[in-house]
Structures are given as structure tokens and as C-alpha cells.
Amino acid sequence: MDTKQIAYSRFTEIGLPKPRNDDWFFFPNAVLKNILVQPVTESSSESIAKEFDLGVETEKNIAALIPLIQTRKAFVKKIPANEQETGILKARDDFSHTLFHIQKGADVSLEILDNKNEHDFTAERLDFFLEENAQLELFFCNPPQKHNLQFRHIRIVAAANASIKILGVQQNTGCYRQSFDLFLNGEDSTVDFRLLNKLEDDTEAHYHLIIHHNAPHTKSNQLVRQILNGKSHVSYDGAVHVGKDCTEVNSAQLINSILLSEEAKVSIKPVLKIYHDDVECSHGNTCGELDAESLYYLQSRGIDAKKAEDILLQNFAVNTFSELNSSVGSKRILSAITNRA
């Protein structure tokens, strides 16, 4: 069986999420009712399956399966050892699957652009396999399209000393769900995940992330911030799994939300699964309005209330990406935030 068929049989096995499915708890599952999942017959991603384990047989997330089932042709790219590469990832079809094989010591920075198709339902899957010492930076900040329903699944497997950096700014969209499966399989591999949601109206952005610390000395950091207006809703389900025998693991998660309207909503579910003592994990979660003393201070210097608010919001947004080494992604993200304020 090829990947497409395995994915389809796995999909029919697990089916659409039932009410009270933990992984889809905050998602408005009603929007899934009308989606139709059927394998397309043209081409297949068979060649991929032989070389890489995509974890399809045990996949629990339909958003990881649908692109495999419905894509016409997978896009596969190899970055040779020690090469440097910057580029753009852009899905052309409603359903797409992209796989990068990043070899030893290669350094890759990729901007993910939104699918420009204006369709009811799009789903994309991105796979990355990082060999030893490889570096991957993924970032997205383009003004998104208004899709009724959009899935993006990103799966990354990192070998020893590999580093993953994911930077994202999400602005208004329709209903959006992004899932991440990040495997720190080699010693000293790291992931730095920074996300800023700036939403308005009745938009929904849902995130499901699992970081698997499967080796000693692995390190992960999640910083997620949102500024929500209107009736927008963000949910963030960020899980950290630390495997047996994984000593000296370090993981941090910080989530800060600013709600600018009564009807905006944020739902947070941090999950820690640890099978080892020698683990340093921290997590924090704050939710509120802008700091009243800071607003007073700015205004007491003659800056009007609206401008003072803007300054503090901008600052909150920019600081999501502070202390990052300068990179293609960090520069692009910072200019996107500051230009659009």
C-alpha cells in the first residue's frame, strides 16, 4: 500500500473528531461536518514512504492525514549537507504535501506563504527531517486568506544537535487550525517556538502542538502571545512529552494574552507528560488588559490614550520575538509587525 492508501485507511479508522475529543476540544467541530475526504487517484507519494517514516500508521490527527490523502503530488526536496538555503513555501493546491530532507549541518530558512486559493477547505502538510547539526527556521507572517476552513500540519524530526526555530504572526483569518508535531530525537536538539496572534472579528485560530523530548539534553521553548479583539478566539493546546531516560531536559512555555474586547476569548491547555525526574519544566499563563500604570505613565507625558495603548500593544507584540538572534525570519517578522501597527 502506498502512503495515500495507508493514510486513508487510518483516516477511516479514526474518523472525524467526536464531540469531547480532547485534541479538538476548543475547535468548532461543526465546521467539519461538510468536509468530504476522498483519495485523489492521480499520482502518489509512494516514493516518500520508503525513505521516511511519516508516522502515518499511528497518526491521531486527521489534519495530518487529509493532505496525504488528497494531494495530487508531493513535493520533495533535499538540502545537501552544509548548504545554506532560504526560500518560500507556498501551496498551490487546496491540498498539499511538502517534504524537506535537510542533511547534516545544512542551514535552512523558509517562509510559509498562505495558499492563495479561495476555497472552502484547504489542508497542507509540511514534513522536515533534520540530520545532525542541521538548522531550520520556519516563519510565517503574510496577511492570510479568508478560508472558511484551513488546516496546516507541520511535522519535524530532529537528530542530534539540530535546531528548529518557528516564528509566526497570525492575523485575521477565517477558521484556522495549525498543528505541530515536533520530535527532538537526537541529543542536544532544540526547538524555539514563538507565535503572535493578532485577531479581530469572529476569526478563530486553533493550535495544537506536541513537543516530544525523546533524547537527553534536549531543549524547548514556547512563547505564545495574543492580542484579541472583536469576537475572535484563540485556543492553544501545547503539550510537552519527555521520554524515559531523557535526562537534563529543559522546557519552557509562556502564554500571554491581552483581550481588548469582552467577547474575545482565549483557551489554553498546557499538558506535561514527564517520565523522568531530571527535567526542568516551567510554564506560565497570563491573561488581561494593558497595564494601567504603564498607560497612566505614558499619558502623564502628554501621549493620548489611544496612542499610549498602541505603543504598549506594539511593544507586547514585538517582545514576542525579542532576544532572537537576527535572522531572515526574525527581520521579516519584526518589520511585518512594526509596519502594520
Binding site: A292, R301, I303, A305, I311, V318
Partner: protein
Amino acid sequence: MLSIQNLKASLKDGTSILKGVNLTVRPGEIHAIMGPNGSGKSSLFKAISGHPLYQIDSGSVTLNGKDILNLDISERANSGLFISMQYPIEIPGVKNIDFLRMALDSKRAYLGLEKIKDSEFNELMDRYTSLLEMDDRYRNRGVNEGFSGGEKKRNEILQMAILNPLVACLDETDSGLDIDALRIVARGINELMTPEKSVILVTHYQRLLDYVKPHFVHVLRHGKIVQSGGPELALQLEEQGYDWIGEV
């Protein structure tokens, strides 16, 4: 001229803090307000500047004849009121120099003036940072970000210098300053004093008043000014404390 008449203010929970403050400060005058901890000195400044925790129950505050209590915080500031905070807060990520310029341009816009030119602003910055003996860290760091207690106070005075207010209310600017810094800041205050401006100093110590000589000294206690006098009152307070002053 700042005129505070029978000002009563309370916290939003109803706790009464200011219980009828009367104070008139004419152009060219320096007033000192002293008083025990918790007597309402900082509250007086916060209340007249429009701090959101305080609610005005009665009384009036006018600046050059204009009622400022119905203005918002920034309008009061742009009309010429400046408060140097007892505990200046940090706004990391907003560069101090950008903040100063924004504040100045806000005031200029309020007064119907154009934005300040680069050269003019740089000249102001150079003049006042050298007057206050401040180095470049004060320009490029975030507002008060990582500043020591004394550095924050000095930065308040830099803001005052740049904004050039009619009435400057300095809340314990001297606490936290080392001996040299106190002298430098006091020199700054004196140099910025002109006949059309006035200063209200809140302090616990005579030390500052040796450098910045007040025309009037007031004692605030339990939310009221209970005693007023000349500079000699401060000396007497330093020797005898507050106990000899009766309640009114």
C-alpha cells in the same frame, strides 16, 4: 498659576484619601510639601494629574485659570502639568529617546505646533543630558529599563527638562539619588526654573531643600495641609518630626 481648592479625592473603593486640600502656587514659586508616610502626598499629585485609581469627590484644580479636572491625563500634561513619579515604572522595548520625542511632539501637536525637527531635538537632548550629566545609555535603552532607582529619578528630570512644563510636581525626586546625583539634579531644577514656572517638591529631607530653596513649606497630614510656613518650617520638622503639629 496652579490653584487647588478644597480638593477631596478617594480611591475607587470609596476610601477617602484627600480631605480638602488647598494650595495656590504662583509663577516663580517653589513650594515644598512634607508629611508622614501615607499622608497623601503622592495621592495629591496622582489625583490632580488624573490617575485612574483616584476619583475626585469635590473641589477644583485650575492651571492658569483653566479647569483641568475635566481634561484627560494627556491634556493635563500638555497644558503644562508635569509629575515626576515617586516610583517611575519601566516600559521595556520603547526606546527612551523615542519616548521623549513622542511626548514632546504630543505636546507640540496639542499646542498647534509642528513636529520638532531632528536638529532642534538633538540640541535639546544634548543640552539637557549634559546638564544632568547623563550618558548615552539614557537615550537608547528602553524607558527606565534596567535603570537603577537613582537613574530613574534622573530620567524623570530629563523628561521634565524636555517637556518644559509650567508646573512641575516632583515626588521624592531626591530619594535614591547619591550625593553627587542630588547636587546635579538640584542644579538642573534650579536652572530650569524661570519666572513664569513653578515647582512643587515632595520630600522627606531638608537635604534637597538646601539646594533647591523653597519659598513655602507645607505639611500634609491625613489628606490635608495642616501647616504652612517658610523655609524655616522644614528645618523645624527635621529637628522635631511631625508630632508637634496638631490635627486640624
